[in-house]
Symmetry: C2
Subunit: 146 residues, 2 copies
DNA sequence: GAAAGTTGACAGTGACTACTATGAACTTTA
DNA sequence: TAAAGTTCATAGTAGTCACTGTCAACTTTC
C-alpha cells in the first residue's frame, strides 16, 4: 500500500522540495493554501515533504502549466473524489458531513470536527492519495462503479 | 424524465439563443467545438436550441466567468462522469471503448463507431444531461456509489 | 549566531484565456 | 430576395492567472 510506503516518509525541507520540483518556496505555500497538497508538519510547524509529495507537486505543475487546468479547476476535480465510497462512512455520517454535501472543495480542505473523519490524518488518507494525476481519479471511479 | 421533457424541444435559432444567454453567436459555436454543448441539428445543419440548452449555456457561462473554471477544466470534470455506470455497458464494451479509457474528454466528444453507443444520440443521453452544474456531477456519483 | 524556517502583506509581470469583431464564400429560411 | 444561417480564418483586447520578488517580524535548526 502506497500509504505505508517508505517513499512517503517526510524528508525534504520546503526549500529542498521546491528546488526538486522547480518552483519557488512561495509557490509551494500557495499550493498548500489552495488545498492541493498537505505537507507533513513537525511540532515546530516546519513543513517536510516526502518523495511522494514531490511527485504530487510535479504532477500538479504539469496539470497547471502544460494541461492548462487552473487551480480552481483542479480543486473541483479533487472535490469529485467519492470519499464516502472509499472510507465507507455510514449514511448518518454523510448527512452531517460538509464534505459530502458540497462540490467545491476536496474533503481534506474541510473542517473535520464532529465528523466521521475526526482525528484522521488526511495526509495519509486513501482519499487524498487517490490523486496523482487526472486519470487516477477516474481510475478510482472505475474501481467503485460497476 | 428530463430527457423527454418538452423543455428539451429545439426551439431557438443560434442568434436567439445567444441573445437569451447574453453571449455572441461566435461564442455559442466555440462552446460547441469545445464539447460543452450539443445543439440539435436539422438536416440543413442549422442549429436549434431548447430551453434546457439555454439553461446549460447559462450554467456554463456562470462556471466559466464567475466560478473561474476554465474550459479545459470543465472538460475534465465532464470527463469524470461515469458513463459506463449510467448506460451500463458490458466489460467487453468498456475494453474497446475509447471514452472509458481516457480522462481528458467527455464521452460525447469521442467517435462512436464500433461502440456500444453507436447510433445513440448523445444529446438526449442521460450521461450528457447529467451535467447542469458542478454539483450535479457529484450527485450522479452519489447515486452510483454506495 | 547565522541560515533557514514560519506567517502575512503588497507589488509586479509575462502569458494566456475567453470573448468579440470582421470578412469571405456559400446555403437555407421566411 | 433579403435576412439569417453555415464554415473557416485572422486579428485584437480586457482581464485574469500563476508565479516571483521583497519586506517585515519572529522562531527554529544546525
Amino acid at each position: 500500500m502506497s500509504t505505508l510506503d517508505k517513499s512517503n516518509t517526510p524528508l525534504y525541507t520546503i526549500s529542498m522540495a521546491a528546488k526538486l520540483v522547480g518552483i519557488s518556496v512561495h509557490t509551494m505555500r500557495m499550493y498548500e493554501n489552495e488545498g492541493l497538497i498537505i505537507p507533513f508538519k513537525k511540532e515546530s510547524k516546519q513543513r517536510l515533504y516526502s518523495e511522494l509529495d514531490v511527485e504530487r507537486l510535479r504532477c500538479l505543475r504539469k496539470v497547471i502549466n502544460e494541461e492548462r487546468i487552473g487551480i480552481e479547476g483542479i480543486r473541483r476535480l479533487l472535490a469529485l473524489i467519492p470519499c464516502w465510497g472509499i472510507i465507507k462512512c455510514s449514511l448518518k455520517d454523510r448527512k452531517k458531513c460538509e464534505a459530502y454535501n458540497i462540490a467545491t472543495k476536496p474533503c481534506w480542505m474541510i473542517n473535520h470536527k464532529n465528523n466521521y473523519c475526526t482525528g484522521r490524518d488526511c495526509r495519509v488518507c486513501e482519499v487524498y492519495q487517490s490523486f496523482s494525476n487526472c486519470e487516477s481519479i477516474k481510475n478510482k471511479l472505475k474501481e467503485l462503479i460497476a
